[in-house]
């Protein structure tokens, strides 16, 4: 179906998958940081840093970052698309949301990298 690389069908498939993944990953995160580790300790700087440096938890945080940003910015794109139906607007919305997603993922990833490889202590 369709000749475009990214048909709306594929975009929505990503939207649903990231939605389900977000619920799962956020639940795991909240369960750990707040129930398993008491809340006061969970928000201490050293605890947060240790999570970033833990191979599984750090990877999960990075995946969570990507999943939530993709889901959130695509959601914003959908809302914006409904505001105006011109081709130019649709194109602008697509480009801006893709750039915003990439930039925020890069910025978040930078934080993870700094926490893992030093620069933050």
């Amino acid at each position: 179906m369709g000749d475009k690389i990214m048909t709306e069908r594929k975009i929505m498939m990503i939207q649903y998958v990231t939605g389900i993944l977000s619920v799962f990953l956020v639940s795991v995160h909240l369960l750990y940081q707040g129930v398993i580790v008491p809340y006061e300790k969970a928000i201490s700087f050293s605890q947060v840093l240790s999570l970033y440096r833990h191979i599984f938890y750090g990877s999960m945080l990075e995946i969570l970052l990507v999943v939530i940003l993709v889901h959130g910015f695509n959601g914003l794109r959908i809302i914006l698309l409904e505001l105006n139906q011109s081709q130019d607007w649709s194109k602008a919305v697509d480009i801006i949301t893709v750039i915003a997603t990439v930039v925020t993922i890069a910025y978040g990833t930078r934080t993870v990298i700094l926490a893992v490889f030093g620069g933050v202590s």
Binding site: E8, R9, I78, E82, S90
Partner: protein, 251 residues
């Protein structure tokens, strides 16, 4: 109740700057419908009231309007069921007003037409000169039956929040009818319809408010049709390809 106070929203886009309300006192009789009240007002009190109607039995879908704020067919709404002597009638939302209560269905029918609301068969010659009926099992009919009851009254379209914001969205009626034909075992045009619907202003923009199904006077559930059709669009595959429709009956 011996009379009803009928409040009609009056608006002629060619003359008026904005809509206004006008009141008419209409004698009540048992069994009176809102359409009866409007027609009394038009026949005896004010000939200039603009209203569209035809069958007066909820079959033609012409007299859809907002009655006390809720979209309904005027011929299918008894005055007594409203529980008030004051009846406010307004044109449906999401449709341009032609005059007073009569709205313009051009865009609505265009969207309906775009999704090919008819059987599409690869063998056009055979379809145009059929020798017998196409086969269909009762359970296959059951899957689409409720959607065939649509009378194109536009009530679902008038309450759809997405239609209100996105003018390119086909609307619940058109999409539910697309489902009705995609699911029909005699049809072979599913793939084309799915392609039309898979776009940034297509089927995905339904937010499942469900108001379409709540107002349908014929018991159609357009929201269900949209969700079922989405399944096919998501898979990128219609239930049948060209040439796979049910065969004509042979002895």
């Amino acid at each position: 109740m011996s009379y009803v106070k009928l409040v009609v929203q009056r608006y002629d886009p060619e003359r008026d700057e904005k809509p206004r309300f006008q009141e008419y006192i209409v004698p009540y009789r048992k069994g009176m419908t809102v359409l009866d009240a409007i027609l009394y007002a038009r026949d005896y009190l004010d000939h200039s009231i603009g209203v569209r109607f035809s069958c007066r039995m909820a079959s033609c879908g012409s007299c859809g309007m907002k009655i006390n704020g809720k979209p309904a067919l005027a011929c299918y709404t008894q005055v007594s069921e409203l529980g008030t002597e004051r009846i406010v009638v307004q044109p449906m939302d999401n449709f341009p007003v032609i005059k007073d209560l009569a709205t313009d269905f051009e865009e609505f029918f265009e969207k309906h037409k775009e999704l090919m609301p008819y059987l599409v068969r690869e063998d056009r010659a055979e379809q145009e000169n059929p020798k017998s009926e196409y086969l269909m099992k009762p359970e296959e009919l059951e899957r689409i039956l409720q959607f065939t009851y649509c009378i194109k009254c536009g009530l679902c379209y008038s309450v759809c929040p997405t239609v209100g914001t996105d003018k390119l969205f086909p609307g619940p009626q058109a999409i539910a009818q697309a489902y009705r034909y995609v699911e029909d075992v005699r049809d072979e045009g599913g793939e084309t319809r799915l392609n039309i619907l898979d776009n940034p202003h297509g089927i995905w923009r339904c937010h499942f408010a469900g108001s379409c199904s709540a107002v349908c006077p014929k018991g159609v559930d357009p929201a269900l049709g949209i969700q079922l059709l989405r399944r096919y669009v998501m898979r990128g595959k219609a239930p049948r390809k060209k040439g796979e429709g049910s065969k004509p009956f042979t002895k």
